[in-house]
């Protein structure tokens, strides 16, 4: 009897590994092997076709000391993240809060706000290029009707980054859905008892909604940072990094080094630095979270 059970148990273990094997294989190649390789490549001169040539820390020294474009790409990306992440969270929160007011036609509005996120990135990039057209684009037509200044948008170094940030706000639908789910989970009794105490709308928002939403805010903040540091397609299609390198983002520069100049070792060093940056930012956000995230709701 005992041996039969252990035989069954052993069979289950074997089947467990067999069923998980697609991912176990994928994980070993695409994560473990790739990770080790990217670290190794970052210490080599490598064009993807011949054998990697070990050159020690040269790639890192070059990046930090002699490459003018690297700090520019870092600055552009940090600029983009600094604005697009908080503005995106605020916009998404505002939309979710509006949708949470027991409105009629909730499904309709939710669909409209979410729709832009399913538009293929190439199509949305081409579309926004048209909207940002300085002379006949939708945006400048509106601005000129309102007698406001009409910038060149993606055609000018000053306005290219703000333009892409503005465009990123069009895609906050996913974050909005997450916020809406969070808002719907806030216990109604909290608002009711606050109302009995005569709390104003603003007070309810500040002292109930915001604290109860902090775990969701933390999640969207971290995902937002990770995502915004990888911004690529819009800049690649709309501006090719220009004008005057004003939209040369980190991943765009990395892509160029890897797949246009075939400096795979150099690009690997860039990739690792990006990973470290994202890791540090995540750790910083997480370490401050105990000060502002409230886990009372039993989420």
């Amino acid at each position: 009897m005992v041996s039969k059970i252990s035989k069954l148990r052993r069979k289950e273990v074997i089947m467990g590994y067999v069923f998980a094997s697609p991912w176990l294989i994928g994980f070993s190649i695409f994560t473990v092997y790739a990770f080790i390789s990217v670290i190794y490549y970052s210490f080599t001169d490598f064009n993807a076709f011949t054998h990697p040539n070990y050159i020690g820390l040269s790639n890192y020294v070059e990046l930090f000391n002699h490459d003018d474009l690297f700090p520019i790409s870092l600055y552009n990306t940090a600029y983009y993240a600094c604005f697009s992440v908080p503005l995106g969270i605020i916009t998404a929160f505002l939309l979710a809060e509006l949708l949470n007011q027991k409105v009629r036609g909730l499904a309709f509005f939710r669909t409209i706000f979410y729709l832009p996120t399913v538009v293929p990135s190439v199509a949305s990039s081409v579309l926004w290029l048209w909207i940002f057209n300085p002379n006949f684009g939708l945006l400048n037509i509106f601005l000129s009707i309102l007698h406001l200044p009409t910038p060149l948008w993606v055609g000018s170094p000053e306005w290219a980054k703000p333009a892409l940030i503005l465009m990123s706000l069009w895609g906050v639908g996913g974050t909005m859905i997450i916020f809406l789910a969070g808002l719907q989970d806030v216990p109604q009794e909290l608002y009711e008892s606050a109302e009995l105490d005569g709390a104003s709308i603003m007070a309810k928002f500040m002292y109930i909604t915001i604290p109860m939403m902090t775990p969701t805010l933390l999640y969207t903040l971290i995902m937002g940072i990770i995502g915004s540091f990888q911004v690529f397609t819009q800049a690649f299609i709309m501006t090719q990094g220009g004008p005057a390198n004003s939209t040369l983002f980190y991943v765009l520069y990395l892509y160029r080094n890897a797949f246009q100049y075939f400096k795979m070792g150099y690009a690997s060093a860039q990739a690792l630095i990006l990973l470290v940056i994202i890791l540090i930012l995540t750790v910083i956000v997480l370490s401050t979270s105990s000060k502002w995230v409230y886990y009372g709701g039993g989420a």
Binding site: Y17, A20, T111, I112, I178, A181
Partner: protein, 290 residues
Amino acid sequence: MRIDKEVTHYKSRRKREIYLKLIVYIFLIALSGIFAFPLLWMISTSLKPETQVFVFPPQLIPRPVIWKNYIKVIPLMRFSITLLNTLVIVAGSVAGDLFSSSLVAYSFARLRWPGRDLFFVILLSTMMIPYVVTMIPIFVVFNRLGWVNTFKPLIVPSFLGNPFFIFLARQFFRTIPNDLSDAAKIDGCSEFGIYLHIILPLCKPILAVIGIFSFMGAWSDFLGPLIYLNNEDKWTLSLMLYAMRSAQAWQLSWPLLMAGSTIMTLPVIIIFFFTQKTFIQSITLTGIKG
């Protein structure tokens, strides 16, 4: 007197609530207009003749509606080839994702094996790794296999599991009671038989979600085809639209570019409209985890 005061108080509160609702609706309508306008503008531009695009003030509804841009853009995009390429990649990715995520999720949700819980945490954390970190070594591997300029680098990884889909499927599989599979086991059903005949039929809703996500991802993918497909005969819709935007001669023809964008966008929007309920539920699910 006192009651009077109460009544007026109640009335004013009621009034304030109505005003508030009104403001909420005004905001919602204005914002949804702003969000929808770019897409309407895309369709509108695609139905206008070249000359009408630069008319001031601009017209949202094209007069007359012309289909010329679509007739022109379809051969220019080499539509039959690019669409077929895209569909081959989409079909391969969807098949691969359904196969691998259901199989692996079955293991994580219903079988006990040493290291399982640790591997599940690892699986979740791999979702946070930026794709550019592993992009170069993966390219090198596929290049050594001679797979560059084939669809294999865009399809084969799906068969080796996508962490997000595995997570979705695993959460769903866990909700199915064990009695069913226990009974089947007593009847001598194999583990694979249980997976195929009991779990999969019960899990159609989550498989549909994974299928839709996988479809959307493969249909819209840009970076993958950009890296792996050099030969124009292998291009997908994404790459072709990008190439159209890059070619200098195209710079000015916004109606044609918008027609191309509309062709790429409409299928996704149609699928989204038909499946939005499941779609939105599963996005919610990803957020709850956090």
